[in-house]
Symmetry: C2
Subunit: 192 residues, 2 copies
DNA sequence: CAACATCCGTAGTGATCGCTACAGAAAGAG
DNA sequence: CTCTTTCTGTAGCGATCACTACGGATGTTG
């Protein structure tokens, strides 16, 4: 029933494919570049992963899981402002990490608009919770703020790919935070 | 000394090339797609424009001139806040104009980072003038604010290409405006 | 008019694209 | 061991890539 086992580690090869697609995007990545990066031959790639589109689907799944985990960790912080600050800071750091390709696959790849919307939905939910919690003014448009944050992060990805330094990208993050409304005054604190 | 004149209008063909590159980017645009859009044959294209890269250079020149004209018009407004508001509003409108390709060629094409820096420099200059004029607080980091604005506009381009409505993209623009610091209090106005 | 310069379309260059037919190698099942 | 099953690499499929050689068409110039 069983035949010859595959001679490479599927997970390792997939990780190499993630890196390659991350660096050069879907259209910019050729099968020959993939097999070189993955250390396998074309028939092995097609046997193990289907075709280029299916392989990219698995790559996107891995990448999105990693990204959404970071988003969720940030969203777990007690206030929207803290969550957004953490998320923007993470974004700036990851996008300029010299150990990985610059920028973000999820934010830049045209065909991953569904994954981008998943991020946006999480942000909308978190902001609405912030409104309910009282740490965000009730007149804030959660959808607009979430779209804005996705736009800024996408812009940070582009800046990183243009060669902006980590400090420049962090400066964008800090500036964007000013667009997150300050919490409405809670019970007046004692004067200093 | 003169031979057969060319049978097509160079400017019209260039405009068609602008639209094609705008829609599908440099790498995503093939010569066959270009000649189809321009209504000419490959030898005519190569005779009139050199090669693909040179044609794209002319396309970028045309596109950047148009874009920078809009930027300069916005920058001519009396305050940084008005200039930024105008620029973001223009951006939202142009990026979602159903009469042209979605998004922005200048902001999305990887090889146009030089043109993006030209936009950024104009923004830095305008913000520094705003600081000198007193309509922007002196502690504002002009470079960071300019990078932020470029990032937001790039994000708006991506959102438009993802299919966001004109209203959604405009909402991003309005939200981003909140990151532009309010002018420092001028001579105290009479109480209402 | 003839001579010349330039452009036109056809047709095809070698290279690379995504993908696969094929035959041999390497494992478990009997 | 043999048989079966699956993976392996080589080698090559048709399509498309950017680009061009070539010969005929179409102008201006003398």
């Amino acid at each position: 029933m069983a035949g010859r086992p595959r001679s490479f580690d599927r997970g390792t090869a997939l990780a190499a494919a993630v890196e390659q697609f991350w660096r050069t995007g879907y259209e910019g990545t050729s099968i020959s570049a993939l097999v070189r990066a993955m250390g396998i031959t074309p028939p092995s790639l097609y046997a193990a992963f289907g075709d280029k589109a299916q392989l990219f689907g698995e790559v996107a799944e891995v990448y999105a899981a990693r990204t959404l985990e970071g988003v969720d960790q940030a969203c777990a912080l007690p206030t929207v402002r803290e969550a957004v600050a953490r998320m923007l800071d993470d974004t700036a750091r990851v996008h300029t990490d010299p150990g990985t390709p610059l920028g973000c696959l999820l934010l830049t790849e045209p065909r991953l608009d569904g994954q981008r919307d998943a991020v946006r939905r999480r942000l909308v939910d978190r902001i609405e919770r912030g409104i309910a919690d009282g740490d965000v003014p009730a007149d804030v448009d959660a959808g607009a703020l979430a779209s804005f944050l996705v736009a800024v992060m996408r812009g940070m990805s582009g800046a990183a790919r243009d060669g902006a330094s980590a400090e420049e990208v962090h400066a964008v993050a800090r500036t964007a935070l000013a667009a997150v409304p300050a919490p409405p005054a809670p019970p007046a604190p004692p004067a200093p």
